[in-house]
């Protein structure tokens, strides 16, 4: 079993711990209804840079207090994509793959509009994306994640 930081469900590891590639993971997530837009880039955390309790992580943003965060702050200009680092162990579980990618994509899509308008301050951005802040986007994203994994379980024989 793999326990995420906040999801209610416990994700089942694949039989024999079969590990997926990033390409397979994205295909699996999309196959179970997760909208993964073309302007995101997932890669495996081969350097173990994620904290012990982290399942995946989007871009780092550092700004002076009170300043706006923009969509361009989340992009790599060479690729035009938003990078997401995903923990290696997540790739051993199709349920974790669906749950974690659903979580990240929920947050990103909710942020996208605000960031494109430039109406979100760094304080608001941090409040909405950090753990241990009940009712924020990060919290909602785990609810979405649980729903997607539950639907996945129902869809499988």
């Amino acid at each position: 079993m793999i326990a995420g930081q906040s999801p209610r469900l416990i994700w089942k590891v694949n039989p024999q711990g079969h590990k997926r590639t990033i390409e397979e993971a994205l295909e699996i997530a999309r196959g179970f209804g997760v909208h993964v837009p073309p302007d995101v880039f997932f890669f495996e955390d081969e350097d173990n840079e994620l904290p012990d309790d982290g399942t995946a992580r989007g871009p780092k943003v550092t700004k002076p207090a009170g300043s706006a965060v923009y969509w361009s702050d989340l992009l790599n200009s060479r690729t035009g994509k938003v990078p997401f680092r995903i923990r290696s162990e997540i790739l051993n579980s199709d349920e974790a793959i669906v749950g974690v990618i659903a979580h990240e994509m929920y947050e990103l899509e909710k942020l996208r509009g605000m960031l494109k308008k430039g109406t979100m301050t760094i304080e608001h951005y941090i409040d909405q994306t950090r753990p241990n802040n009940p009712g924020n986007l990060h919290d909602e994203a785990w609810d979405c994640s649980d729903r997607m994994v539950e639907a996945m379980r129902k869809a499988q024989p």
Binding site: K60, K63, A65, D73, L75, R78, P83, I126
Partner: protein, 91 residues
């Protein structure tokens, strides 16, 4: 270390903004060129913009460390001096 950051950026694993912030965090104020030499020109321009916006004790981040004022000032000075030197050579 900065070469590794540049490579990660080239591969799309980090954003432009991350390359700026992480390079500044790695920078030794006594020898800023080591961290800055390999950065592409558009990223150096973003370093200067970051330095202009930098506010001591008021920087916020969603994770990780924030570059210190001496790192930011050293980078700003190194880039400005490098450009001045280049301009004098081509004048």
């Amino acid at each position: 270390m900065t070469c590794s950051l540049v490579e990660k950026h080239r591969l799309g694993m980090i954003t432009d903004h991350q390359l700026v912030v992480e390079s500044l965090h790695m920078l030794d104020p006594r020898n800023p060129g080591v961290a800055l030499t390999n950065l592409p020109e558009p990223i150096l321009r973003q370093v200067l913009r970051f330095a202009k916006d930098y506010r001591r004790d008021q920087m916020m981040t969603n994770y990780g460390v924030v570059p210190t004022l001496d790192q930011v000032l050293a980078a700003e000075s190194w880039i400005t001096e490098s450009r001045r030197h280049l301009a004098s050579l081509t004048a």
